[in-house]
Amino acid sequence: MVKENIIELKELTKKYGEVTAVDRLTLSVHRGEIFGLLGPNGAGKTTTILMLLGLSEPTSGKVKVCDIDPTFQPLLVKEKVGYLPDEVGFYENLSGLDNLLYTAALNRIESATARQRARDLLELVGLTQRAVDKVQTYSRGMKQRLGLADILIKEPEVIILDEPTSGIDPEGVRELLALIKQLSRERNMTVLLSSHYLHQVQLICDRVGLFVEGKLIAVGPIKELAGNLFKNEPILLKAEAEPVDDRIISIIGANQHVARVEQSGNQLLIHCREQVSAEIANIIVSHGARLTHLSQHDYGLDEIYHRYFEGGRSA
């Protein structure tokens, strides 16, 4: 089955004066998938999202969302796309329900339908009991969930979430992500979310795109990315010894299976191609140093992140 592309970006570029916020971005997102835009702050994630909604004009390149160009027909796109900005805000003096009804009215949803949908959605996000309370009494996590209900009331085909998890406690994050995943699966909704929290993105995204300084440097499922990136040095050993001197490091580095050694204080990070912990322990001990710790590490997302962003900067 050929996957239908619901979002298509081609050579998309956005410049603010001399600064290039988004640099020749080409990307497509399939219908029904959860796509994660990953990158540090200021990488151009929000700018890209604004261009998807027609809220910002691209300097050059093409955008297509649901086969509509948002630059020229933003209203049509906004009918089909729900956007949850980071730090979403509500009218604090209104109740959660009233906030939802207002959004519904702006989307020309008839009042009886709007009430029914608001009711169902508040139930879905677990805010029924607080529906008639003013939003100013809500916690951050509750506002974020209300935000989700708010974008769902127009029954969008695509939802775009900008840093949906920032500022929420871990339990709240887990619930929110589970909710997003459930929605995507049940309603075959496409989800595009941006984040700089890798661990959270890893939990729910089908594919991710890594952003550094306006450039997309890698796209794919997380496992694939990790595999590609570390295929030359798949094993990471962590050793601690006292004292550590340059001689030990150079001898370890000379081992044919060791790719690289990094030192920080008494700690050594050894990137190697084969499992060589026995040899390393041997080297350290034979040099009269005391080995206090030796363990093997899996590459976590932090390493992927770190590696990619380092690579992205130097490239």
Binding site: L55, K78, L101, T103, A105, N107, D162
Partner: protein, 340 residues
């Protein structure tokens, strides 16, 4: 268990039906927005305070007018317009209604507009609004229309309230001409407050902090009400012709001074309103003895009064439009970023 929960939820939603809950009467998003803005304003303390202030004004100026009505009528036997005196009569201790409006009008305009756009931005609701399928200019247009609607209702209410109480107390009904004069006076007041409203909206687009934009609005208001006449005086003294050679020169010069003063919206407003409410005013410019000689003192008909203040009215409307246009352009060009 789930049944119990269902029941609970159903009960909750039944309860909300009786609670204060917003129902939008229009299907069109623009009017939905206007309705929301109006509801927000009416429910806010700000509006209640403004309304209280205006009611106080009405009572105070009615009181002044009542206590001076007799002497005012005796002083001026030429005019049959007794009823209009209600809006203009004073004994000097408390200003009459028109002065009150020219003083408080700017405050009302600024108070209703100073946080129009920046509060949406600050609360983070602007980007959420912009993600809805509505044209961007609906936001600023709806805010303007809603505030102007409120001002209109407020001013018309106060004006009619004054007329009504006036009829009750004096026992004199206004003649149709007086009624129209009052009506046009209220209309000019609305336009005048609209100028300040637009100025405040412009500052609310320009400045991210509501406090800054409120202060800027007040600063402009203070400038025009306190320092502007001083400034004009300085210019006048500096540019006064050293030798007066003929009459046309001094008339021209007088006209120049007057036009300088007319940069201030308050000046335009007071010229327009006094002409409307005091029908005996026949001209706003300088007049020579020659021209005045032989003129029969008497009131102008309404049409002539209107004709006399037409430039002032146009000027005020133009100022309102230009300032609104500026804020519109500023708003449309502004980058959309949440909060920052």
């Amino acid at each position: 268990m789930t049944l119990l929960k269902e029941k609970k939820i159903a009960a909750l939603f039944r309860r909300t039906r009786f609670m204060r809950q917003r129902v939008y009467h229009s299907r069109h998003p623009f009017w939905v927005m206007v309705q929301k803005e109006v509801m927000d304003s009416i429910n806010s303390w700000r509006f209640i305070i403004l309304l209280g202030l205006m009611l106080l004004t009405t009572v105070a100026s009615l009181y002044t007018a009542m206590s001076n009505l007799r002497s005012a009528i005796l002083d001026d036997t030429a005019t049959p317009f007794v009823f209009l005196k209600l809006f203009t009569a004073t004994d000097g201790t408390l200003p009459p209604f028109i002065t009150f409006i020219s003083l408080l009008g700017p405050i009302i305009g600024i108070a209703l507009g100073f946080d129009a756009v920046n509060s949406e931005r600050g609360r983070g609701t602007l980007s959420r609004l912009l993600a809805q399928p509505i044209p961007r200019d609906y936001i600023i247009n709806a805010k303007f229309v809603a505030s102007l609607l409120l001002i209109t209702v407020m001013i018309l209410t106060l004006g009619l309230l004054m007329t009504g109480i006036g009829i009750l107390v004096t026992g004199i009904p206004p003649t149709p001409e007086e009624f129209w004069r009052i009506f046009f006076f209220l209309l000019v007041s609305i336009v005048f407050i609209g100028v300040w409203l637009n100025l405040a909206i412009m500052f609310s687009v320009r400045f991210r902090q509501p406090a800054t934009s409120a202060l800027s609005g007040l600063a402009v208001w203070l400038f025009f009400s306190l320092f502007f006449s001083m400034l004009v005086n300085i210019i006048v003294e500096a540019t006064a012709p050293a030798h007066i050679t003929d009459v046309t020169q001094i008339i021209g010069y007088q006209g120049f001074v007057q036009n300088l003063l007319r940069i201030s919206p308050s000046q335009l407003f007071s010229e327009a309103t006094t002409t409307l409410l005091v029908p005996t005013i026949r001209t706003l410019g300088p007049i020579t003895l020659e021209q005045a000689y032989g003129a029969i003192a008497g009131p102008l008909p309404l049409g002539q009064s209107l004709l006399l203040v037409w430039p002032q009215l146009t000027g005020l409307t133009a100022a309102a439009c230009i300032i609104f246009g500026l804020s519109y352009v500023l708003f449309m060009k502004q980058e959309v970023r949440s909060r920052s």
